[in-house]
């Protein structure tokens, strides 16, 4: 059996008395488009923080490409191929957009081999792809919130990730932008990057984004299945769509 790209086993994370993530397990294969759905407080961002290394789990393990990365330091995960965007974008302040994205290229999967000049060229490439060509020289703090999200995506992609963690990428966007983003993500997926997208509402996932969906509620997994099946899952219906009629 081919080793999945990412395998999470029984992840649990507690904060004092609160269990943010409870016994969560799932696998991601290369090129998957996977959505984690859940309202605020369901544990989605905590889950990302665990995969990223920002937080360490109390129980459970994470494997990336067969390697146990459960306790690997944060900065060692990017070179393995784990890229991430943040729910509220975190641009590198005064640095220009190009410099921001170049940083992604410099410390990502190609970290050992890429030179600064090459990184800047890679940055240009991705800036073009997300449509920010006009803003390459601007200080990143001068961008609008939507532009910042796009820059974050470009920065994460410049890392040449094998797995991209997208945290609420679509929040605050208008429907047209969302459609464009979804198409963009599909193209990325076709290039072999697996994507985990965090979304708050299941309908977004339905809007053509994900093939598989994991619905979380108060830290636990309600279901982990195809999007269509999730829509009709009784527990999901109860939590999201109100009590089933009758």
């Amino acid at each position: 059996m081919v080793e999945p790209l990412l395998r999470a086993e029984n992840l649990t994370k507690r904060f004092g008395g609160l269990v943010a993530v409870k016994d969560v397990s799932f696998t991601i294969a290369e090129g998957d488009l996977f959505a984690v759905v859940g309202p605020n407080g369901a544990g989605k961002t905590t889950l990302f923080n665990l995969i990223n290394g920002v937080l360490l789990p109390d129980e459970g393990r994470i494997f990336f490409n067969g390697k146990d990365i459960t306790r690997l330091p944060v900065y060692r995960r990017a070179p393995l191929g784990i890229g991430r965007t943040f729910q509220i974008p975190r641009p590198f302040g005064v640095a220009s957009v190009r410099e921001n994205v170049a940083i992604g290229a410099l410390f990502g999967r190609a970290a050992e081999k890429v030179s600064v000049v090459e990184a800047l060229a890679i940055a240009d490439e991705y800036i073009d792809r997300v449509g920010l060509q006009a803003h390459g020289d601007k200080p990143s703090i001068a961008l609008t919130p939507v532009e910042r999200k796009l820059m974050e995506i470009a920065r994460a992609l410049a890392m040449k990730p094998r797995l991209l963690l997208l945290d609420e990428a679509m929040a605050g966007m208008n429907p047209k932008d969302i459609d464009e983003l979804v198409n963009f993500l599909k193209r990325i997926k076709d290039e072999g990057v697996a994507i985990i997208a965090l979304v708050e509402h299941i309908m977004r996932a339905v809007a053509g984004l994900a093939e598989r969906v994991m619905v979380m509620h108060q830290g636990s997994v309600l279901t982990d299945t195809t999007t269509e099946a999730a829509l009709t899952h009784p527990k999901v219906v109860e939590v999201y769509l109100g009590k089933a009629p009758g």
């Binding site: 995960r77 590198f92 940083i103 410390f107 920065r155």
Partner: protein
């Protein structure tokens, strides 16, 4: 395809920096009675460039910074006082002094860094605030390097070089070395900015946690900047203090006053910029000189509120403000 202004920082940004130091040298050399002033300005510029390597690039304040200059001074002092007995040692005493000074500064920075650099902003400041004092009292208390008696090596210097050359060394060549150190620090700053190190430092300075997520090994890069900055401080102590004064006393070389001046110079000029420390050093040095003549004893009373004004209202410093005003014009390319 729009031409980029944020491509790699060009080498010609060094021109105003190196040019300024050259001009300083020529002025002092041509007008011997101006040499004192030139030497003082050179010192402040060098101090600023060295301090900026860490403060400017990482955003961390090392309140104990002067300790590195202090041990650099001791390195030179120890070298000269011990090697004067060696026949024909000549200029090697200086070279060894510089090497010893930088080695000691490196070792100290590794020791301090091992504890402090694992800590975040505020804790780092706390950890460093006692370094210079702690070291001073340790030297005095444990009576190492002659304890509170210090080391006087003017005689040893004369023994090695002869009276005339020793005087020339203390009054001229030491200051030339300081100018060279300032220039070198500027070059290193630019090299950092152009390289992977500079990008890593930019990231960690802006948002340390996000930088880690992007794959930046923040501790490693903090250490690199820390050691580099410390080495330059060591060189400065070995030349501007040891060679010029030919003695070293613990309370003098571990005096927090110099860290204060370094902070003011860098913040005034523009923290994190290449030109900033140069501008800051010149402005501060000239102001101090002028104040010493007109309002002696008032210097810090004026610079303290000035620092507050800068921090609150103009955190980007003189060069930062200048960059905003003319950054888009052709001349702006030189303002880095």
């Amino acid at each position: 395809m729009s031409p980029s202004r944020t491509r790699l920082v060009r080498y010609y940004a060094l021109l105003p920096v190196l040019g300024a130091y050259l001009v300083l040298f020529l002025i002092g050399n041509g007008q011997p009675d101006m040499w004192q002033l030139v030497a003082m300005l050179a010192f402040y510029c060098a101090l600023g460039q060295a301090f900026n390597l860490f403060l400017g690039m990482t955003g961390y304040v090392d309140f104990g910074y002067v300790a590195f200059a202090g041990v650099g001074t001791y390195g030179m002092a120890i070298s000269i006082s011990h090697l004067s007995a060696v026949e024909g040692i000549g200029g090697w005493a200086i070279v060894i002094g510089l090497l010893l000074g930088t080695t000691m500064a490196t070792l100290l920075s590794l020791a301090v860094g091992a504890v402090a650099l694992r800590l975040r902003g505020a804790y780092f400041a706390i950890a460093t605030i006692g370094v210079n004092e702690g070291l001073r009292y340790f030297v005095e208390g444990a009576r190492i390097w002659n304890g509170s008696d210090g080391i006087i090596f003017s005689r040893d210097l004369r023994l090695i070089f002869g009276r005339e050359a020793a005087t020339a060394l203390s009054t001229f060549w030491a200051d030339v070395l300081v100018l060279l150190i300032a220039a070198l620090a500027g070059v290193v700053t630019l090299l950092f900015m152009r390289s992977k190190i500079g990008y890593a430092l930019t990231a960690l300075r802006a948002d340390e946690d996000a930088a880690k997520v992007m794959g930046v090994n923040v501790t490693k890069y903090k250490i690199m900047a820390f050691i580099t900055s410390a080495v330059f401080a060591g060189l400065l102590g070995a030349t501007a203090w040891a060679l010029k004064l030919t003695y070293v006393y613990p309370p003098d070389v571990f005096e927090i006053h110099y860290t204060v001046e370094a902070i003011v110079i860098v913040m005034l000029g523009g923290v994190g910029t290449l030109l900033g420390p140069l501008v800051g050093g010149l402005v501060y040095g000239l102001s101090k000189y002028w104040l010493a003549v007109t309002l002696p004893g008032f210097q810090l009373l004026i610079f303290a509120p000035l620092l507050l004004v800068i921090v609150v209202l103009f955190p980007e410093g003189l060069v930062g403000v200048l960059k905003k005003k003319i950054g888009n014009r052709p001349l702006g390319k030189f303002i880095v």
